[in-house]
């Protein structure tokens, strides 16, 4: 979703946020509680809460922070409510586990989300090249895998980097402003 745009229509804006963040937030929740069905419920609940306090003038950065913070708190509530935890693979202290790990998990999910979104919007050939490159393949390996010349691989890479630069710029820009405002 575009950060710097104000959506007049709450439903439209919310739908966009839902689509952009559901997989990341679900994965985040799943890693914290390790129960797929409950993770889905918690993710849905987090979205409901942001919908109920929707503010069209709030930056999407604030919304991201709210979503993750809410999901994390709901995960903790979930374990506080469930009195008996039979076999919890993360040891006997799920709340401590969540507190210790949620920031790292958030960083991971957000990185994947941002990168995946930007890469998905690339034209098909440069996208394929960049996907191989992200998986750690070098140019020669990509030549073999895609059956194209080394020069073509390099050109596609260049195109991909140029587009990624544009795709990744606005988020960072808004963020820097925000961090400055907080400090």
């Amino acid at each position: 979703m575009k950060d710097n745009q104000l959506y007049q229509n709450k439903e439209e804006a919310f739908h966009l946020l839902f689509k952009s963040f559901f997989p990341a937030l679900f994965s985040f929740t799943l890693q914290l509680i390790k129960e797929p069905e409950n993770a889905k419920d918690i993710t849905q609940e987090a979205f409901l809460r942001i919908y109920q306090r929707w503010d069209i003038y709030e930056l999407s950065n604030e919304k991201r922070a709210f979503l993750y913070a809410t999901a994390k708190n709901l995960c903790i509530d979930h374990f506080r409510k469930a009195k008996t935890i039979q076999s919890y693979e993360m040891g006997n202290k799920p709340v401590e586990y969540i507190e210790d790990n949620f920031l790292n998990e958030l960083t991971k999910q957000e990185t994947i989300r941002i990168l995946y979104k930007a890469v998905k919007e690339l034209p098909s050939q440069p996208r394929e090249v960049i996907q191989h490159s992200l998986k750690g393949k070098n140019n020669n390996e990509i030549v073999d895998m895609m059956g194209i010349s080394l020069n073509t691989v390099k050109t596609h890479k260049k195109t991909a980097y140029r587009i990624l630069r544009e795709k990744l710029l606005p988020d960072i820009f808004i963020l820097l402003l925000l961090i400055r405002a907080i400090e």
Partner: protein, 379 residues
């Protein structure tokens, strides 16, 4: 902490996409070196990207299905309000059932007419975008002037048993006196009136909510859970109530028409430039109500606060290239002028440079005229 991590994830994404500046790379490396947990986090992310976890995740989850679940459970309007027969589908209900359904609709409709409060969650919303103002008439005949970036909503039961509007932003109310109390709700406060003229400024990004009364009588109370004790203030004409969001305090000030000077505590400035803009003086209108007349009145206002008002009024975004500008303080009155004219006046009275690019205004210190103003700096 969360904001910092959101920023770090942007940096890692940029690094992996081969698109990171040296400054950002330095920041990222600093973060990695902070502790073992951060470094482990970074390595886990790199591994996840190598293993293509994103692709797997985004293929596994059917967002459309999840959205449908969510929509059905939380957002779908009540059945009563949906059209019974869509134009593209033939009516397939046998006639007797259809007749029964029809009867049910009629009965429900009669019930609806008799009990409007049952459906009080149906809201009418008026949105005024950034860069414009609007004047609306409510169903009871009360008039509202809405400032830029303001939303006002009221339920279908408005003027039936009570008159309540919800406000985000700034509006001036001229309330018609009838037997029903008129309530303005903002998340933190309830303002109750009986025929009066007053202004409410409650933008979500401002530190304080201001209520200024021109005539009549107002009661302001802090919105709290039902049954709890609450703060309450009764406002007389020419008084202003200010609610400070961060400190959770409600205070009020008297101000005289002659002076039009508010006793609001002046912001503590470590360093700033006092600048006077005097294009036109018009003292018989208080600054709180001036926006309605198209006047931009500035009273000892730091630039950081002033730009927020300009952002709403002209629908633009300000970017400070030099943070010290935020503390510069301005006073003056400007009437019905363009953004370019406002910026020009600011430039004339202080060492400031501006660039207007599309919808953004970039502000920086003007090194050429700075020496002229140096002696005015309050250290």
């Amino acid at each position: 902490m969360i904001h910092k991590r959101l920023y770090i994830s942007e940096l890692i994404a940029r690094e992996l996409a081969g698109n990171i500046s040296s400054g950002q790379l330095y920041e990222l490396n600093e973060w990695k070196a902070e502790n073992a947990s951060n470094l482990a986090c970074y390595r886990a992310i790199k591994k996840a990207i190598m293993d293509d976890e994103g692709e797997k995740l985004y293929h596994e989850i059917d967002v459309e299905t999840e959205w449908k679940h969510f929509y059905k459970k939380h957002l779908k309007p009540p059945v009563f309000w949906r059209p019974w027969i869509s134009s593209t589908h033939r009516l397939a209900i046998p006639m007797p059932y259809a007749a029964a359904a029809m009867l049910f609709i009629i009965i429900s409709f009669v019930m609806f007419i008799n009990k409007p409060d049952r459906f009080s969650d149906q809201y009418t919303t008026i949105d005024v975008p950034m860069g414009s103002t609007s004047h609306v008439m409510l169903p009871d005949g009360s008039a509202v002037w809405m400032n830029a970036g303001t939303t006002l909503s009221y339920s279908s039961g408005f003027n039936q048993e009570m008159r309540q509007v919800k406000l985000t932003g700034e509006a001036f109310f001229e309330v018609i006196n009838n037997k029903l109390p008129f309530i303005v709700s903002i998340p933190e406060l309830n303002i109750t009136v009986l025929g009066t003229r007053f202004n409410v400024k409650a933008y979500p990004d401002d530190d304080a909510i201001e209520t200024t009364l021109e005539s009549g009588k107002l009661m302001i109370e802090k919105a709290t859970e039902a049954g709890q004790h609450f703060d309450q203030i009764v406002l007389q004409p020419n008084q202003k109530a200010t609610f400070f969001r961060d400190r959770d305090i409600l205070t009020f000030n008297q101000f005289n028409d002659a002076e039009s000077k508010l006793s609001e505590p002046a912001p503590q400035q470590q360093r700033g430039i006092i600048s006077q803009i005097t294009v036109r003086q018009k003292r018989n209108i208080s600054p709180e109500l001036s926006w309605k007349e198209g006047i931009l009145q500035i009273e000892d206002e730091p630039l950081s606060r002033l730009v927020r008002r300009l952002e709403r009024r002209y629908g633009v975004t300000f970017v400070f290239n030099d943070d010290e500008l935020k503390d510069y303080i301005y006073s003056g009155t400007l009437k019905e002028i363009t953004l370019e004219q406002v910026m020009h006046v600011l430039k004339l009275t202080s060492p400031i440079n501006y660039d207007i690019i599309d919808q953004e205004v970039f502000l920086s210190v003007d090194p050429v005229s700075m020496p002229k103003y140096k002696r005015l700096l309050i250290n």
